[in-house]
């Protein structure tokens, strides 16, 4: 009887270019986007965006990630290449190599891999 109640989350609506992968869906394959991307669900394969990427704390990513700017709060198993700024929040786990220009790591964030910083721009 309790699990029949439903409510809607107040997710921001898409501006037409933003992609939101919410909790409750699985994505498999080469995910590419030219706009901002928000991931709270599961993704396996590869992720590539020319804009910003936000990985929520419920996200489980098994993929190589490429973005211009990224904020990670969830789990990423794969290499992360960010052209500009990468922010790892306290709940984040990255099992893979990181390449970025600017890195911000919150206390509690876990990195299991090589970190390369200060390069001009990452290769796509």
């Amino acid at each position: 009887m309790f699990n029949r109640r439903e409510e809607t989350n107040h997710m921001p609506s898409s501006n037409g270019q933003e992609t939101i992968i919410a909790q409750g869906v699985k994505v498999e394959g080469d995910f590419t986007s030219s706009g901002d991307v928000v991931i709270d669900g599961e993704v396996s394969g590869s992720i590539q965006t020319a804009a910003s990427l936000r990985v929520g704390d419920t996200a489980k990513i098994t993929a190589d990630v490429t973005a211009a700017v990224a904020v990670i709060a969830g789990v990423v198993q794969g290499n992360v290449k960010v052209a500009e700024r990468l922010e790892l929040l306290e709940t984040s786990v990255v099992d893979g190599d990181i390449t970025c220009r600017v890195l911000s790591v919150a206390p509690g964030a876990r990195i299991n891999g090589r970190v390369e910083m200060g390069t001009e721009k990452t290769e796509d």
């Binding site: 699990n3 409510e7 809607t8 989350n9 037409g16 939101i20 992968i21 409750g24 869906v25 706009g35």
Partner: protein
């Protein structure tokens, strides 16, 4: 040349007075044209096609959303401009286009603000508003690159020109060359397994639904059954007359 397509229900006595006012106003504005009335056993699409062939430059549907849907497929892809004079209900599409009901719509036709918009296409059939699937649990292939599968049964909506059900302020843009694809899934959270709806939103150009069992897909209010649905977008294929209050 204007061609007015009157839906069958507009011949009801309760619309008689309003139709007379509309016709008078159209004459005053110099927009009078040929009138074609829908009727049982008359193929409306064939009639509209004939009128366009004879030189109709503006096809105006007089009726509700369903009236408009009946003529969309024929008008899109031609040089003719599509307009609506809303009568009866539902008239959600007219509201999105900023066209007021009844006689006031004549002034919108007279101002003639023409927008070029996209149309969605599912298994070869065009749709203007949206396509939806209830109890969606199938695999969705997006832009031929990746697949999305919901963990539990949810709902799928593919919008070309439609309001967000939960946020009516938000209307998908029918001029951006993309279909706003929304997957809603209830995710259990907490001790009591309370369900919270989560919404995935993807702007796509190509989608494919593959299902093991036949599923019902509703596009522009019309139901289609099947296991395979190929969905795409045709950019700028339709020209519509809209009002200043259009929502996109």
């Amino acid at each position: 040349m204007y061609c007015y397509i009157y839906d069958e229900f507009t011949q009801d006595k309760r619309y008689e007075k309003e139709l007379l006012e509309i016709e008078n106003r159209l004459t005053d504005l110099g927009l009078a044209g040929k009138t074609v009335r829908m009727a049982l056993f008359r193929n409306v699409q064939e009639m509209v096609r004939d009128e366009i062939r004879r030189g109709a430059k503006s096809v105006i549907a007089v009726g509700n959303d369903e009236t408009l849907h009946k003529v969309i497929d024929v008008v899109s892809g031609t040089d003719a401009v599509l307009g609506i004079i809303p009568l009866g209900s539902p008239n959600a599409l007219a509201k999105l286009l900023g066209v007021p009901e009844g006689v006031a719509a004549c002034d919108v036709l007279s101002a003639r603000i023409v927008e070029t918009i996209d149309a969605g296409i599912v298994n070869g059939k065009r749709f203007l508003t949206s396509l939806s699937v209830a109890n969606f649990r199938s695999e969705l292939t997006c832009d031929g690159l990746y697949r999305i599968t919901p963990d539990v049964s949810g709902s799928l909506e593919v919008r070309n020109l439609a309001e967000d059900e939960y946020n009516t302020e938000h209307v998908s843009d029918p001029t951006d060359g993309r279909l706003e694809t929304v997957i809603r899934v209830g995710v259990k959270q907490g001790w009591f397994g309370r369900r919270i709806m989560r919404e995935s939103i993807l702007p796509l150009t190509q989608l494919a639904i593959r299902s093991e069992k036949p599923i019902a897909v509703v596009a522009d209010g019309e139901e289609m059954m099947g296991t395979r649905f190929d969905i795409g977008i045709e950019e700028g294929v339709m020209r519509v007359i809209s009002g200043r209050g259009r929502k996109f």
